[in-house]
Symmetry: C2
Subunit: 193 residues, 2 copies
């Protein structure tokens, strides 16, 4: 069983380095992932460092039906947003700000509880255990701040340019609030190691 | 330890009935709570059946800093929204649609896993275990559909009346999508009991 744990951890560590090389990994979160993976009782399986996303959909939440129009893991400018919206054929368009999310595997429930405690202290208030198996515990660590606002409904744009600029300011602010939690989590973990 | 479990469960069942009597409980979710509590391995400690909420804040997510302006656990009309916004002194106002959320205590990890599985099947995709203690496992069951949109920023209203009406239509639709999951969860549980 111990062998199986190490084989799985090795697999995910290798995938992480591969994702980093091909540019599929958000750099903002790499330090935190490295720190978690340096502890023998944990490994990370997937993550997102938080993002601003523009998508076509009538209402939010239909994960497999939405059409992504733009996605950034950093603050954006009005011009960048207008660029992806230009000539956009969709009648219904939404903008979302989504907080960082990490999936972590822990060796057992005790170790999972310990990481949950730290994650919450860092502001990842919406963290929990997704499933408990004999040899591993799968966790999701995230926070709950969100924006999910329509930009266009039934072909009608909602925001004036001035209001859109203000929306982007707040979207960027919220994104940075959640990204600061990544650094805090990393620092808390390091202070304990 | 068994005695402690029963004492706690009795306490929360009594509080539930008291909350129902004084109108503090969302009726939409009472059937589901009753069904969960009828199973000896579980009891519910708190819940919300999903809601539309209007609040004053610069950005979302500051749970303890926002000022609630209106809150409904059911679809709303344009007039109802305009009524709470009338003479509203705040410069920054947001509207949120929040999915149902339940906190449930399970007897042990195995029983928690079983309920998590059912909850996800019913569409409560964002469900997990918050903490594992010796004699009980605390769970949060919820889904991830959200709207979180500014209605007013820096004193400027964002939506025309026509667009606001369309926003309410979609907010109501999303609320009902999430509320249907309550019924589905209850049915799944009953079919197993």
């Amino acid at each position: 069983m111990c062998g199986e744990w190490h084989i799985r951890k090795k697999h995910f560590l290798e995938r992480l380095e591969k994702d980093l090389k091909i540019g599929r990994l958000d750099k903002d979160i790499y330090g935190l992932l490295k720190t978690i993976n340096s502890i023998e009782y944990y490994y990370t399986t997937s993550s997102c460092s938080g993002r601003i996303q523009v998508y076509a959909s009538k209402i939010p939440g239909r994960k497999f039906e939405i059409k992504t129009i733009g996605k950034w893991h950093r603050p954006i400018s009005l011009d960048e947003l207008l660029e992806v919206l230009k000539d956009c054929p969709y009648e219904d368009i939404w903008l979302a700000v989504l907080p960082p999310i990490l999936h972590v595997v822990a060796r057992n429930v005790e170790k999972a509880n310990r990481l949950l405690h730290l994650a919450r202290e860092a502001g990842f208030k919406h963290s929990g255990i997704l499933s408990v198996k004999n040899e591993r515990v799968i966790m999701e660590l995230t926070s709950s701040e969100r924006i999910e606002t329509p930009l266009r409904m039934r072909g009608v744009w909602i925001f004036s340019d001035e209001n859109l600029l203000e929306l982007i300011r707040r979207a960027n602010e919220l994104l940075l609030v959640t990204k600061r939690k990544i650094r805090k989590f990393e620092e808390l973990l390091k202070s304990l190691c």
